[in-house]
C-alpha cells in the first residue's frame, strides 16, 4: 500500500464523516477537492490547449492569424475590470453567434427530425403502439392553449402517467448510479487500502 492510497482513503472517510453531521474534517476535505480540481483544470488547460493551440502556432510557427483569437481571449478576460468590461461583449457575441449557428441545425437534425422519424412507426406491435400513444399524449399534456377536459383531458391525463413512469425510471437509474459510487468507494477502502477483499 502506497502513501497516495492512504491519503485517498483518509480523504474518502473525511468526506463520509458528513453523513453524521457537518464538521471541520469534512470541510477540509471539501476544500482540498475544490483546490485540487481547479488547479488541475488550469494546468491541463494551459498544457493541452493554450500552449499547443495558441503559444506554439503564434510564437514558434509564426502564424500571425492566431493574433485574432489571442486578442479575443484577452478581451474576454477584461470582463473582470470595471473600466473595460464592455469590451468582453465582442468575444461573447462571437461565441453566442457561432454557438447558436452550430447548435441549431445540429439539434434540429439529431433531436427533432431523427426523433420524429423514429416515432413514425407501423402499428404492428405493442411497443410501437405504446411509443405512439405516449408521444401523442405527452404532447397533448404540454398543449396549454386548450382546457384539459373531455377526451382532450383524458389524453393529457394519460400523458401525465407516461411522464410519471419516465420520472420513476429516471429516479431508479439515479439511485443505481449513487449506489455504484458508494460501491466504488467501499471497494477502494476494503480492497486497495485494507486488502480485505480482492
Amino acid at each position: 500500500m502506497d502513501i497516495s492510497t492512504t491519503i485517498a482513503a483518509i480523504l474518502t472517510l473525511a468526506i463520509y464523516s458528513f453523513l453524521y453531521r457537518d464538521n471541520p474534517v469534512y470541510k477540509t476535505a471539501e476544500h482540498i477537492l475544490l483546490g485540487v480540481s481547479v488547479g488541475y483544470f488550469v494546468v491541463i488547460t494551459i498544457s493541452n490547449t493554450i500552449i499547443p493551440k495558441l503559444i506554439i502556432p503564434l510564437f514558434v510557427d509564426g502564424e500571425l492569424i492566431y493574433i485574432i483569437p489571442a486578442l479575443l481571449g484577452i478581451a474576454m478576460l477584461l470582463r473582470v475590470t470595471k473600466q473595460f468590461s464592455h469590451i468582453s461583449r465582442i468575444p461573447l457575441a462571437l461565441i453566442i453567434g457561432v454557438g447558436a449557428g452550430i447548435a441549431i441545425p445540429a439539434y434540429m437534425q439529431a433531436h427533432l427530425i431523427a426523433q420524429m422519424k423514429a416515432t413514425m412507426l407501423p402499428l404492428s406491435n405493442i411497443s410501437n403502439i405504446v411509443i405512439i400513444i405516449a408521444v401523442l399524449s405527452v404532447l397533448v399534456y404540454f398543449f396549454f392553449s386548450r382546457k384539459h377536459e373531455g377526451a382532450f383531458g383524458v389524453t393529457a391525463k394519460a400523458g401525465i402517467y407516461f411522464l410519471m413512469i419516465f420520472f420513476g425510471s429516471t429516479f431508479g437509474y439515479t439511485v443505481m448510479a449513487r449506489i455504484s459510487l458508494l460501491i466504488g468507494r467501499i471497494q477502494f477502502l476494503l480492497g486497495d487500502w485494507l486488502g480485505i477483499i480482492r
Partner: protein
C-alpha cells in the same frame, strides 16, 4: 424512532448504517447473484466484435473524477475488447479530469495486451469546447490535435497514417458522465454519420434511450450494470461484476425502505382521519 439518542442519532443515520451493511457484506461474501446481458449492451459487443482488425476507434473520456466507480470499469471493459480485437484505439478527453484517467487506462490496458503506444493506440489529450472539438475532428484530426498528450507531433506516429477524419473511424466511444455523449450524437453522428457508442453513468440512461430507439447510437452501456454485462460478455470478472451483488442488495434495501415509508405514511393518514 426519529431521535433514538437525544439529537445525536437520527433515522437517517440508521438508514446510512443499513446501506453500508447492505453494500459491504456482499462485497466480502460474494454470493454471485445472476446477471443477464441486455440487448443494448449485446449490440455494442456485437458491433465491436464485427469490426475488421486494425479498424480505428476513438474513445473519449468525457467524465470527471467523481464518477470513476462507474466509468473506469466501463472504459476498461471496452478497451479490453478493442485491444483483444486488435483495433487501433485513439484516446482523447472533452472534460479535463478525464484526461489523466484516460491516459492511465489506455497505457495500463494496452500493456496487458502488449500494445505499442503510437502504433496500436495513442492519447491525443484534452480539448475544451466540445462542440467545436467534435466538429473539428470531422475536418482534420491532425489540425485539431497537432501534438499528443505528451507534446509529441501526432503526425509522426504510425497509428495516424491514413487517419484524417471521421471517414477513417469505425466508431466513437464516449465514456461520459454527463451530456457530452449527446454532443457526439448531435455533431459527429448527425453531421458526419459516425457510429456513436455511449458508455454512460446510470443517471444519463433515460436521456440516451430515445437515441437508441431512433438508431442514432449503436447500443447503450449504462452504469455499473452495463459494465458488468460487458465484463460477462468478455468472460472476465472485473470491478463491475464484483460490485453487482452489492448493487442488488442495496436496491432490495431501498425497496424495503420505500415500502416501510409508505406503510407509515398511510397509517399516519388513517390515524388522522379517525
Amino acid at each position: 424512532m426519529a431521535e433514538a439518542n437525544g439529537k445525536r442519532f437520527h433515522t437517517r443515520h440508521l438508514i446510512f448504517l443499513l446501506m453500508a451493511i447492505a453494500v459491504v457484506l456482499p462485497l466480502i461474501f460474494k454470493p454471485g447473484l445472476p446477471l443477464r446481458v441486455t440487448k443494448e449492451v449485446q449490440d455494442i459487443y456485437d458491433y465491436i466484435e464485427g469490426l475488421p482488425e486494425e479498424s480505428v476507434v476513438i474513445i473519449s473520456f468525457d467524465h470527471e473524477a467523481s464518477s470513476l466507480p462507474e466509468m473506469v470499469p466501463m472504459a476498461e471493459a471496452l478497451l479490453r475488447h478493442c485491444f483483444r480485437k486488435n483495433l487501433k484505439v485513439c484516446g482523447m478527453a472533452l472534460l479535463a479530469e478525464g484526461t489523466s484517467v484516460g491516459d492511465a487506462n489506455l497505457r495500463r490496458i494496452g500493456a496487458e495486451y502488449n500494445k505499442e503506444y503510437g502504433e496500436d493506440y495513442i492519447f491525443w489529450g484534452f480539448r475544451p469546447q466540445h462542440e467545436v472539438a467534435i466538429l473539428a475532428l470531422g475536418e482534420d484530426i491532425t489540425r485539431e490535435f497537432k501534438t499528443d498528450y505528451t507534446g509529441r507531433p501526432i503526425s509522426g506516429f504510425p497509428i495516424m497514417q491514413g487517419l484524417r477524419n471521421y471517414q477513417n473511424v469505425a466508431a466513437v466511444i464516449s465514456v461520459g458522465d454527463g451530456d457530452i455523449p449527446i454532443y457526439w450524437v448531435n455533431y459527429a453522428q448527425a453531421r458526419y454519420g459516425v457510429n456513436i457508442i455511449p458508455a454512460i453513468t446510470a443517471v444519463m440512461a433515460t436521456t440516451m434511450y430515445p437515441f437508441l430507439q431512433s438508431e442514432q447510437i449503436v447500443g447503450l452501456a449504462a452504469g455499473l450494470k452495463g459494465a458488468a454485462e460487458y465484463e460477462k460478455l468478455l468472460n472476465r470478472t472485473g470491478l463491475a461484476t464484483r460490485g453487482m451483488d452489492a448493487q442488488s442488495t442495496a436496491h432490495v434495501l431501498i425497496i424495503v425502505l420505500i415500502a416501510i415509508g409508505n406503510i407509515i405514511m398511510f397509517r399516519q393518514r388513517g390515524g388522522k382521519r379517525s
